[in-house]
Symmetry: C2
Subunit: 194 residues, 2 copies
């Protein structure tokens, strides 16, 4: 007998929670859509109303995170210097992600163990970077500048994100970004050790 969901409007987030629990218990490849649906108390048909496949569950947040990032870039009062805009946008994104740390740690562990998921994550980052570049151009940055700015911003963010996910007791994600940003100013003068 299929359990009737008590909060049908919340089935998407319960499916995500169920999937992450099962991935942790049985591994990503050892978990089926039917098991995820059963754990969430919905039918497989409901699963497929929210996600095209099991992989999509791991990328569910992208539907809100990327639009939020682009909106924070577009809405910051201007004219604004690139470094201030970058700090504003990345720390805004960090504030959204900070409370989700346990789920993000679990997600990263799964992404890192599956080469096709890793590839999708990299492609996603590249698409995000293109979206940020386009939004910076809309704000009136030169296209060459926009592309370099977006690349610097992503490099700082991804590095801070991975350090934050790997360190259970360290600084918040936003503080890591604040600490890392000045390095982008001096990095071209760095000298290799050999």
């Amino acid at each position: 007998m299929v359990t009737v969901p008590r909060w049908p409007e919340d089935s998407r987030s319960r499916l995500v929670d169920a999937a992450m629990s099962l991935f942790g218990e049985h591994g990503y490849s050892g978990t089926t859509v039917d098991e995820i649906a059963a754990r969430a108390g919905v039918t497989a048909r409901t699963f497929f109303r929210h996600f095209a496949d099991k992989e999509e569950v791991l990328f569910a947040d992208d539907d809100t995170l990327l639009p939020g990032l682009l909106a924070s870039i577009a809405a910051a009062p201007g004219p604004i210097a690139a470094d201030a805009l970058m700090l504003h946008a990345l720390t805004t994104l960090a504030a959204v992600m900070q409370p989700q740390r346990p789920a993000l740690v679990a997600r990263q562990r799964i992404i890192d163990t599956d080469v096709s998921l890793t590839g999708r994550e990299l492609a996603k980052q590249a698409r995000w970077q293109q979206g940020v570049t386009a939004t910076l151009i809309e704000r009136g940055f030169d296209p060459d500048e926009a592309e370099i700015l977006s690349a610097i911003g992503f490099a700082i963010f991804v590095r801070a994100l991975h350090a934050w996910l790997a360190d259970d007791d360290g600084p918040d994600l936003a503080d890591r970004i604040r600490d890392a940003l000045p390095r982008a100013r001096t990095v071209l003068d760095a000298v290799s050790a050999r």
Copy 2:
């Protein structure tokens, strides 16, 4: 009757040439592996000795370009400043690509028309960027610096590459990179137009 190849050792490059011609004539999706093999004067079995599938033909150069890039970073005499190393590595890569411009223009046109090929190209760039970061760390750059440097280098290179591919009469790829690199020094101070 299958044509016997005159230069069997050269069948890989003839397959690439045949594929690019056919993609130009009939489109990427309108071309089959059998047609590529026939045009190259080899069997489909020979095709599959060189490439896993049709898509692989478009990424055939990666087997030489990425190792060449990483070797040019690893082999530059040091200690060396990051900007000088970046200029050396990117202009070395540009010199290899410059004579291949017609084939690269045709390739880019195909990549741009197919969303799964575009995704693979983005994932490839992300993998290359990771490889460059690792090589910079091996040379003794701080990991944070290495990640930002790699991101800046790729942003400059990809932007110069696309401008070069789109402009039949403009400067060489290496000159475009030389012109763009100084901008990375001042980009964080750029101010948005609005």
